[in-house]
Symmetry: C2
């Protein structure tokens, strides 16, 4: 592949699975994973970045495959003690996971950027893949509901995605500056593909796409833009994407995801279960690929990553 | 004992043992434990108060009797993860212990005083004993050595008390205001005894005594001032007190501790091993009591607490 570069836009766990698959295809430091920060929040005085951390843990093999989130061999003594003292304990912070939040909070307080800190952490774990936040500026997703707006983690974790969603705001998005390396790679002639991982379109990918100049830079880039559907057989593999789609008045289908991204896309990958929607995707002017998108094993992740890159190559010509 | 009140000045583990003994003598909320804050420090962005926490854990029965410090059933996953990321890991922060530091750092950041926070924590644990910091203002003990000054925890933990000590500074002491309840109780006509627990005289007790107005208020109080020797048979039960005394050019004896406190004391309790020093203590104008001062069991703590109170009563008349 020579100097060809790949960008993957990622939310949390689902996106991190494909990011890991891509990272195992000998791309070295030519793979740039751009993580959503709209899920970030301040909790117990700590700055917590769930999507960045899910990618860090997945890329380093530190994630918990069974639980599906957080770190393996995690402990909960901190949470137990927090509860004894009457502390706010609706958000589970594992004992190992805490180290990252404490170090990050300290680094940001002394003036490091989120990118600086992320680079220090990925270096300490010897990761070759570049992982960057979509921006160093705070962007905070607010979920609109009939009873008012909720900070994302209050909606997602505290209220278990129960409130009906009517829309989203990304606080801070208007002034947030896209991360430097992200923008430089979008403008790089060696860029081979921009991959939208199967993360939640509304709260994981849209914040990235809503950054000033990002959509424009993506459209101008020669590299094809390929999305992988996070909806399979009408359901989200993980998280509230399908429920959100129903509440927003759209069908909970892969096709509706393709329509949501619209003319930004050159290609769209649907699961075999949704093969019947491929023609309608094609009719939108988006090249469809039917593949196996559910990633259970490490081999699944690598296989989908290979499919995505080959498909991008085919979209290029 | 009616409304009689007791003040105990305490450092960390040694002082907390006697504080626990006193707390079990039906004093209810008439026991005020005043903890040193000179050992406090900022680490990883967290405000850590080892002496306050040692007292909290001991009074609540949460302390680790075997290890001799920190919490029982403690875990170290946070420290392991911190090490993986190359974080500063010379100071052991247990997974459970962390909850207190995170909550405190958050409370102080939002403007609560250290007293407010300590009260919230002791209430959440249903402690009846009043535990207060000596001051809400930052006081930081610096250890003078031939190679310059060291922050206390750098001397104590990072450098394992190895540097030779030539003196101490208590940064911030000149402007620190003694805690309100501490001063009010010193001035209370119902005060029955002021007990200097067997903590390190130089770095645990002297910071408290050095607060503006504290010595004067102690001298003016009718209540007798009783110290328990932290030196037994020429050795400190725990910590560097004996080593410090040698380096400061004084004998490592109980008698030298009595001389160090000097005419502040009405009574001084020595261990049976040091009974031969009782007459010389008496010659200083300080009433001696020879007792069992080494507290191994809970019964030892209660017995010494009873001895101290009875001795205080005898010093009163």
């Amino acid at each position: 592949m020579g100097d060809h570069k790949i960008i993957a836009l990622s939310g949390g766990v689902g996106g991190a699975k494909l990011a890991l698959g891509l990272s195992r295809l000998d791309l070295g430091d030519r793979l740039l994973v751009v993580a959503n920060v709209g899920d970030d929040f301040e909790h117990l005085g700590l700055t917590i970045c769930p999507d960045l951390d899910s990618n860090t843990y997945a890329l380093a093999g530190l994630n918990d495959e069974v639980k599906g989130w957080g770190r393996a061999d995690e402990g909960w003594r901190f949470m137990e003690a927090l509860g004894e003292f009457g502390g706010e304990n609706w958000f589970n912070l594992g004992d190992r996971d805490l180290a990252l939040h404490v170090l990050r909070t300290q680094a940001l307080a002394k003036g490091d950027s989120l990118s600086d800190f992320t680079r220090a952490i990925t270096s300490s774990l010897d990761l070759t893949t570049h992982l960057v936040p979509m921006t160093n500026d705070p962007v905070r997703t607010m979920v609109q509901t009939p009873d008012g707006a909720l900070a994302f983690q209050h909606y997602f974790v505290r209220d278990r995605c129960e409130p009906v969603v009517t829309g989203f705001d990304f606080n801070g998005i208007a002034t947030a500056k896209p991360q430097r390396e992200f923008m430089a790679t979008l403008a790089d002639a060696d860029l081979q593909a921009i991959i939208i991982t199967p993360s939640n379109p509304f709260v994981s990918i849209d914040p990235i796409l809503s950054l000033s100049g990002v959509r424009e830079a993506m459209k101008v880039a020669d590299a094809p833009i390929i999305a992988v559907s996070p909806i399979v057989a009408g359901m989200a593999i993980k998280g509230p994407a399908a429920k959100m789609m129903a509440e927003l008045g759209m069908p909970s289908t892969a096709l509706a995801v393709a329509e949501h991204y619209g003319d930004l896309l050159d290609g769209f990958i649907l699961d075999h279960s949704d093969a019947d929607q491929a023609d309608t995707v094609a009719a939108l002017g988006i090249k469809p690929l039917v593949s196996k998108t559910v990633m259970q094993s490490l081999a699944d992740r690598e296989e989908l990553a290979r499919d995505v890159l080959a498909f991008a190559e085919s979209c290029r010509s």
